[in-house]
């Protein structure tokens, strides 16, 4: 899926996003976690549901890095996931979906088709 053909959802204004943290975006029945990694000047989006115990929680997790890999830690049991690839970094098999993000004129858009 290339950027231009994705369906872009206007999620929020830049100033509504939480610096160095996450917010949750409603997309129909789905929930998407949107992270503004200000320290690295990067945006990420993933599914909001933590696959471990299926909790809608990742947007409330702490973000950070391991070596250089950006990650989010679920607030429930501190499983961590790569924000880049969605891979679980705590040794579990589960992975999360990640979505593309772009910012135009102060509005943050999330591509609602997951990255492969």
């Amino acid at each position: 899926m290339t950027e231009s053909t994705n369906n872009w959802l206007a999620a929020c204004r830049v100033e509504d996003a939480v610096e160095n943290g996450g917010v949750c975006v409603k997309h129909g029945e789905e929930q998407i976690a949107l992270f503004y990694f200000t320290r690295r000047n990067e945006w990420y989006a993933t599914q909001n549901e933590c696959p471990h115990k299926k909790q809608m929680a990742l947007s409330r997790g702490m973000i950070g890095s391991i070596t250089d890999e950006p990650k989010v830690a679920c607030p429930f049991h501190k499983k961590t996931f790569s924000l880049n690839t969605g891979e679980c970094l705590s040794g579990d098999e589960c992975a999360i979906k990640t979505y593309p993000v772009k910012v135009e004129n102060g509005t943050v858009y999330v591509g609602t088709v997951p990255k492969s």
Partner: protein, 836 residues
């Protein structure tokens, strides 16, 4: 040429260990394993933990792919049923047949079931496999009384499990006149019996079960002395019976009382066939423990790879892993005078019994028994096995280790390098030290990975840790607990640096003192230090995202994603008006209410979006945050004391309120709790708190560093008969010392346990001001106290912070639709995890 083919019968602990050992030495041999159980080999030694939350997967000894990766063909649920020794062939229950060049029996043993009339009835179980445990726990749901036949190691473990399953009336029936007849003597058995009785178990000795009564299912046990005992279920644990039936059927020599006869190479009477583990009979003896079984596996694997090892009799020392009671026996435990000199220490009050048997010349330790306190077990065992010369007064060995400040590592230096520390995996002291000096191991996980020490029964872990620390120290390595990859400092160093540089936000700290982007370990830790130092509103200056979720939303996140609300109720005292407000708020926002263990009221099931309005209403009625979400002061429990109680010496409620209001909101490395009791009857349980206060005729006694939780520990007496002002002064100093020096997430009890010099040192620092810090600490805590503000009040009044209490950024009014509740006893509760 075709690889020779090895067939292993049995995929239990020893069969698995044999595969692992063989494959670590060679990749030749076709290796085929037949297991009768439906799952891969698991840790039977820790089977009982299955009842305490461990899953079958947790207990498994290998990962699912391990056998494939190791090129081993594994058949599960597929017992071998026949062996043709002429053709060198095995036949399985599923109709397969395979030829072997070498055949290995690792069939273990089954429970020995005595031939009591009625034994076939429903409700009678054995305790050996995960399936047995599943059956037992299902049946236990409808049972009120239970019995265990057999008062040995396994019987006691089974009985404890039944209690944990909620059967209050659990009986142990033992044929012999004492418990654990093979490990401990009569005096030890008496002591153990009284301890088990305290746990709620009924012990019946000298009892011979003659009949199991009931129509179809068990209802009672009848004994040969014509007495009887009600029982809804029964677990048989009367010993083990080697699984030698297959060997016997194909004509291999077996012992008269069971067991496949092997020589020191584990070879049976058929040179192509070997036996290892609990099915093997060596010199007339079955070894019913894993460690000797693993050694047999090692002997056989080595010899198959052209090595030359022999099995010789093995030390059968044991330590019971019953939670709460230490029992151990080692070496020659039953030898008596005149063949040795026996030293016995007994303290009935504390329930401690220790016996050591010393050689007549006083030179060596031969063996012993420990009940109630087995902390010295590892060291004594090593002293006996390695024939280490005893000190002049051998009684020091059992009297020396009195609680708390054990001379860590004092004894381990005297052990020879050959001393076997981990007998399950056969790891010596030399191996462990070398893993540190040559292998570069720096922490316990490294050592475990590198040497495998401690990965079996785990009993040797304290010694492995001591050896690690000792070796690190002797190498001049400073044992430093750095926080994570982003900060190369210990908590204490970071605390001082943040203080000196006057840093106020996580981002500043990371930029000034750390590297990269931080993580979920250092963020809450730094936030906690910032709060302890400056006591500023924790959600300001971008610090909200560096807080644990609970701190970030000033509420505890609960299963399902809702939050709980806990207003402070100082000392547990509350007016009827305020009670009504709590009730009304709970009704209005549909919250589940429960009284907490700390004498306040917890309101569960709040939506994130509702938190600010709920708190607005509570604050208007005079409540403030209870900080149940933060690492800081929780509650100060109290009894009514002299205001109502006829025994009360002082007004414990007023003092509790004063203390709770003094320290509320102060952040620390971990949560801390307190209580005040009005007299020595201790109704407020002050001695289980981080600091607890008990009224005396002359003032207050102050206790410190206790806690409940998973590893309860009693608080220790710090000072006696204090007036209120002095008591508070000491608590001030104590708290600041703790806040400044404790490792992250360390409760006061653990902090004290690690402190060199223990409580005496602490007393010297607090009471005698031996560090000269008292004035500074008192000043610092005064600053924290005077800057206290209710966080919730600030949060609801600050629009920027308040805005964060909504679930969807693009639909701020909508609540999280994924949160589900179900009804229970007229209230709601959260729905179960959607996945288990």
């Amino acid at each position: 040429m075709k690889e020779p083919q090895i067939i292993v019968i049995g995929n239990g602990m020893v069969g698995y260990k044999f595969c692992e050992k063989l494959r670590s030495k060679t990749s030749s041999f076709n290796l085929i394993v037949f297991g009768e159980e439906p799952r891969r080999a698991y840790d039977r030694v820790h089977l009982s933990e299955y009842f305490n939350g461990k899953t079958a997967d947790d207990l498994s000894l290998s990962t699912e792919n391990w056998y494939q990766e190791q090129n081993i063909t594994l058949f599960l649920n597929n017992p071998v049923v026949k062996i043709d020794r002429e053709q060198q062939k095995v036949y399985t229950g599923n109709g397969l047949d395979y030829t072997y060049d070498i055949l290995v029996f690792a069939t273990g043993s089954g429970a020995f079931v005595p031939n009591i009339p009625g034994i076939e009835k429903e409700g009678v179980f054995v305790y050996r496999t995960i399936e047995d445990l599943d059956l037992i726990s299902a049946y236990a749901k409808k049972a009120k009384t239970a019995s265990v036949i057999g008062g040995g190691l396994l019987g006691l473990e089974a009985a404890k499990a039944l209690i944990d399953l909620g059967i209050d009336k659990t009986n142990i029936i033992e044929f012999a006149p004492r418990l654990m007849p093979r490990q401990i003597d009569a005096a030890g058995s008496d002591m153990l019996k009284s301890k088990l009785t305290d746990l709620g178990l009924q012990i019946h000795l000298n009892k011979n079960t003659s009949n199991i009564e009931g129509e179809g299912k068990i209802t009672a046990l009848k004994f040969s002395d014509d007495t009887s005992l009600e029982a809804d279920m029964l677990v048989i644990s009367a010993g083990i019976k080697p699984r030698d039936e297959l060997a016997k059927a194909c004509g291999i020599e077996v012992g008269a009382r069971g067991g496949i006869v092997v020589d020191e190479k584990m070879q049976t009477s058929d040179p192509a066939i070997f036996a290892i583990g609990e099915c093997a009979l060596f010199e007339g003896m079955i070894y019913g423990l894993v460690a000797p079984g693993y050694e047999m596996a090692e002997v056989l694997a080595t010899n198959l790879c052209a090595g030359n090892k022999s099995f010789s009799s093995f030390d059968m020392s044991t330590k019971l892993k019953l939670i709460g009671i230490d029992v151990a026996s080692f070496g020659d435990n039953f030898i008596t005078e005149p063949d040795c000199r026996t030293i016995i220490f007994e303290n009935k009050h504390k329930g401690v019994y220790k016996r050591i048997n010393v050689s007549n010349d006083g030179q060596y330790l031969l063996g012993g028994i420990l009940i109630g306190d087995a902390s010295a077990y590892n060291m004594l065992l090593q002293t006996a096995i390695n024939k280490i010369a005893l000190p002049e007064d051998p009684e020091e060995l059992i009297l020396g280790a009195r609680g708390g400040s054990e001379p860590a590592g004092a004894g381990i230096t005297s052990l020879p390098d050959s001393a076997l520390i981990c007998s399950c995996e056969g790891v010596s002291k030399g191996d462990i030290c070398a893993s540190v000096t040559d292998g570069g191991c720096e922490n316990i996980d490294d050592v475990k990975k590198c040497t495998k020490a401690g990965t079996g029964c785990g009993g040797c872990m304290p010694m492995v840790k001591d050896l690690l620390n000792h070796t690190l120290k002797s190498q001049g390595k400073y044992i430093k607990n750095v926080i994570c990859e982003h900060f190369n400092y210990s908590r204490q160093e970071l605390y001082d640096l943040i203080h000196i540089h006057e840093l106020k936000s996580y981002d500043e700290v990371l930029t000034a003192l750390g590297e990269n982007d931080g993580c979920e370990v250092c963020k809450p830790l730094v936030s906690s230090i910032l709060a302890s130092l400056w006591n500023e509103m924790i959600l300001k200056k971008g610090n909200d995202v560096a807080q644990d979720s609970n701190d970030r939303f000033l509420a505890n996140i609960q299963k399902g994603g809702s939050y709980s609300v806990v207003p402070r109720i100082p000392g547990g005292e509350i007016t009827p008006e305020k009670l009504i407000v709590i009730g009304e708020v709970a009704k209005k926002y549909n919250l589940y209410t429960k009284i907490t263990g700390g004498q306040r009221i917890d309101l569960f099931g709040a939506h994130l979006n509702d938190l600010p309005v709920i708190w607005e209403e509570l604050i208007a009625a005079g409540f403030e945050s209870g900080h149940a979400y933060g690492k800081g002061l929780r509650t100060v429990k109290s009894c009514v004391g002299s205001t109502w109680c006829r025994f009360g010496l002082h007004d414990s409620v007023s003092f509790a309120i004063r203390i709770e209001e003094r320290y509320r909101g102060i952040r620390a490395p971990h949560k801390f709790k307190s209580a005040v009791s009005g007299c020595i009857r201790e109704c407020a349980e002050a001695q289980s708190k981080d600091f607890g206060i008990i009224a005396t005729e002359k003032g207050w006694n102050l206790y410190v560093c206790g806690n409940g939780g998973s590893k309860p520990q009693h608080a220790l007496l710090l000072a006696t008969d204090l007036d209120s002002e002095t008591c508070i002064k000491y608590i001030d100093r104590f708290l600041m010392f703790y806040i400044r020096t404790a490792d992250p997430l360390t409760r006061t009890a653990t902090w004290l346990n690690k402190m060199e010099g223990g409580i005496d040192y602490l007393r010297n620092v607090i009471v005698n001001d031996s560090l000269g810090m008292a004035k500074q600490w008192e000043h610092e805590i005064e600053k924290l106290i005077s800057s206290y503000k209710c966080e919730w009040k600030e949060a609801v009044e600050n629009p920027a912070i308040r805005k964060r209490f909504s679930h969807f950024v693009n639909a701020p009014e909508e609540k999280d639709p994924s949160i589900e509740f179900v009804e229970m006893r007229g209230q709601k509760r959260t729905a179960e995890w959607k996945i288990v």
